[in-house]
């Protein structure tokens, strides 16, 4: 186990290295943010002056070297917009995004598991049709549209939930639903197909031949097995989930990484972009790692 972990962690290094290089290249070709930092009526001299003082006139390799040097010390440079070290700014937003993402995940799981199981066990029944049909429909709707509609319906018209912002649990409901239902759609389909496959396995037949009640056959014998592929794919969805926060956070003015990133991208605040991409990549990798470990815990067949 320990060795396996170490090996997996070592694999992360080249990945992060590649990511950092790609991101750096992007930033390099992005050109400089100087002009954006000054108002519309700034003059050319002003721009030159600022560029010089920010060290943006160095050649590629020097800049890359400086960047890597900073990187190993977890220093992504200063945000041009905030005039502060980028990483702390990013990390400061992380809890909000995690809160949203986790809530979305929980919603997704809470919806997907019963529906997935249900539609698998009642294959081709109306329930199955509704669950799969609903899942597909949900997947087909753009996230932001759903978000805006939810606000109009549940906040403006019905007044059940606050419109936006982060605060108590009620604030979390709409954005988490927006983000979570999309994931749930995918997951329902996944659980369904995974369950269908498991239900055809010989050991399910064995369990039934023992005279166990159907309920237990499904929830004890089948579901645990069906969970294994779900765990891995769910981890793979982390990236989609984080991507989804970009849109959802903007709609609901949720003060998380997504909003920060979008603004950073729009203002060419590349230090923030770099730091966020890095942090997000790290989280995604971490999630996959956790999924791997979980996978091994769930499945005794796999040895370390």
């Amino acid at each position: 186990m320990g060795k396996y972990l170490i090996r997996r962690l070592l694999q992360v290094i080249p990945v992060l290295f590649i990511i950092s290089f790609v991101v750096f290249c992007l930033v390099f070709v992005a050109g400089d943010p100087v002009a954006l930092m000054l108002p519309e009526d700034a003059s050319q001299e002003d721009i030159e002056l600022l560029r010089e003082s920010l060290g943006l006139n160095e050649p590629f390799h020097i800049q890359y070297f400086t960047y890597m040097l900073g990187l190993v010390q977890l220093d992504f440079g200063d945000s041009f917009r905030y005039n502060q070290s980028a990483l702390p700014i990013v990390l400061e937003r992380l809890p909000a995004t995690l809160e949203l993402a986790i809530a979305a995940m929980i919603i997704a799981i809470v919806i997907a598991i019963p529906f997935g199981i249900w539609s698998a066990t009642k294959k081709n029944s109306p329930v199955d049709f509704l669950a799969t049909g609903g899942a597909v429909l949900w997947k087909a709707m753009p996230n932001f549209w759903l978000g805006i509609m939810l606000i109009l319906l549940f906040s403006v018209t019905l007044g059940w939930f606050p419109v936006s912002g982060r605060g108590d649990l009620s604030h979390l409901v709409l954005p988490a639903i927006t983000l979570g239902t999309g994931i749930a759609a995918e997951m329902t389909r996944l659980i369904r197909s995974s369950m269908l496959e498991i239900l055809n396995q010989d050991y399910i037949r064995t369990a039934k031949s023992k005279g166990i009640r159907n309920f237990f056959v499904i929830n004890k014998h089948a579901f645990r097995n069906a969970l294994i592929p779900v765990v891995t794919i769910t981890a793979l969805q982390t990236s989609t989930l984080v991507g989804g926060t970009l849109v959802t956070e903007t709609v609901f003015s949720w003060p998380g990484l997504g909003q920060l990133l979008i603004q950073a991208v729009n203002t060419r605040d590349m230090a923030i972009v770099q730091a966020s991409v890095f942090v997000i990549a790290f989280i995604v990798i971490l999630m996959n790692l956790i999924a791997d470990i979980l996978y091994k815990i769930l499945d005794p067949r796999i040895k370390y």
């Binding site: 694999q11 080249p14 429909l137 087909a140 932001f144 990236s239 991507g243 970009l246 991208v265």
Partner: protein
């Protein structure tokens, strides 16, 4: 008993038993298609959308970019104030929404298809090479894949688009290069398992060259999961384009895309709902159709359902 009589005997059996099964591919597909209601729906809608995109010029009642200050925010015909002149109403500049949706299909489909095609070509190639040769090449390529997978597509697209400016071409290229990893992974996984199948061993033992093995034995066998995934990917790409429009980095006017119309219309959702609802419906229905089509293809291309 001699071999020959044995064969004849057998032929009889087989021909009587298998006659039904050996109908040609197209007929089989159509049979399977008609059996699946959702598949039929998917195919019909997708074909319709493709036709609409191709013949937009002839189908659209108006120039989609024609501004008409006299007819701004006209509702669809069945509402008060609407007229048959603008069946689905007009937008805030008096442009005909139906025409815009018809034209929008071009870009939305083109982006979806082209991006997926690009990603597919790269991904399948990388996946085949990595899976077949394994070892160091595989390791390097897979680390690259891991890296790409760790960055959410939309984020990657956002950064690149903001740098290079959003045009149809950049969008296609960006979505292409962010999506290839998905195929590379899929194809590699398939190759790894197919590689162990005995027919690959058989080919090797005959002395077939590597490139032939990849092209003739591996590629045809990974192509059907690929097709299934890529159909679904066309759907996600259309939605992604809409999301990028929402974030301000989608296709810019005067080029029209569904995502663009939808996201422009969102300020009017509360007052003039038709601006955002119709393109939203167009996206939803098309995506739905593509997903259904994909599901159906999954069944059709699975030799196990070949009966």
């Amino acid at each position: 008993m001699s071999v020959n009589t044995e064969t004849q005997n057998q032929n009889q059996v087989v021909s009587s038993v298998e006659k039904k099964q050996t109908t040609n591919g197209f007929v089989r597909w159509m049979r399977l298609l008609l059996k699946s209601k959702t598949g039929t729906f998917g195919l019909i809608i997708v074909l319709a959308v493709i036709l609409v995109a191709i013949f937009a010029k002839y189908l659209a009642p108006y120039d989609p970019n024609m501004i008409n200050p006299a007819a701004m925010l006209k509702p669809p015909f069945w509402l008060e104030g609407g007229s048959m002149e603008h069946i689905l109403g007009t937008d805030n500049l008096g442009r005909d929404i139906l025409s815009r949706i018809i034209y929008g299909s071009q870009v939305s489909l083109a982006v979806g298809l082209a991006a997926v095609a690009l990603a597919g070509v790269i991904g399948v190639f990388v996946g085949l090479v990595a899976g077949y040769y394994g070892g160091f090449i595989d390791n390097v390529l897979m680390r690259l894949v891991d890296s790409f997978l760790a960055i959410p597509t939309i984020l990657f697209a956002l950064v690149i688009l903001s740098i290079f400016g959003p045009s149809v071409t950049t969008l296609i290229v960006v979505l292409g290069i962010t999506n290839w990893v998905q195929y590379a992974r899929l194809v590699r996984g398939e190759v790894l398992s197919i590689k162990e199948r005995e027919f690959v061993k058989a080919a090797k033992s005959i002395g077939v060259r590597d490139n032939k093995i990849i092209l003739k034995h591996l590629l045809p066998n990974v192509i059907s999961p690929f097709i299934v995934i890529s159909t679904l990917s066309v759907a996600t790409t259309i939605i992604l384009e809409a999301s990028l429009s929402f974030l301000g980095l989608g296709i810019q006017p005067p080029t029209i895309s569904w995502g663009g119309i939808l996201s422009d219309g969102r300020d009017y959702i509360a007052t003039s709902w038709w601006l955002a609802t119709f393109p939203g419906l167009a996206i939803t229905i098309t995506v739905l159709a593509i997903i259904f089509l994909g599901d159906w293809l999954r069944d059709v291309l699975d030799p196990r359902s070949a009966k």
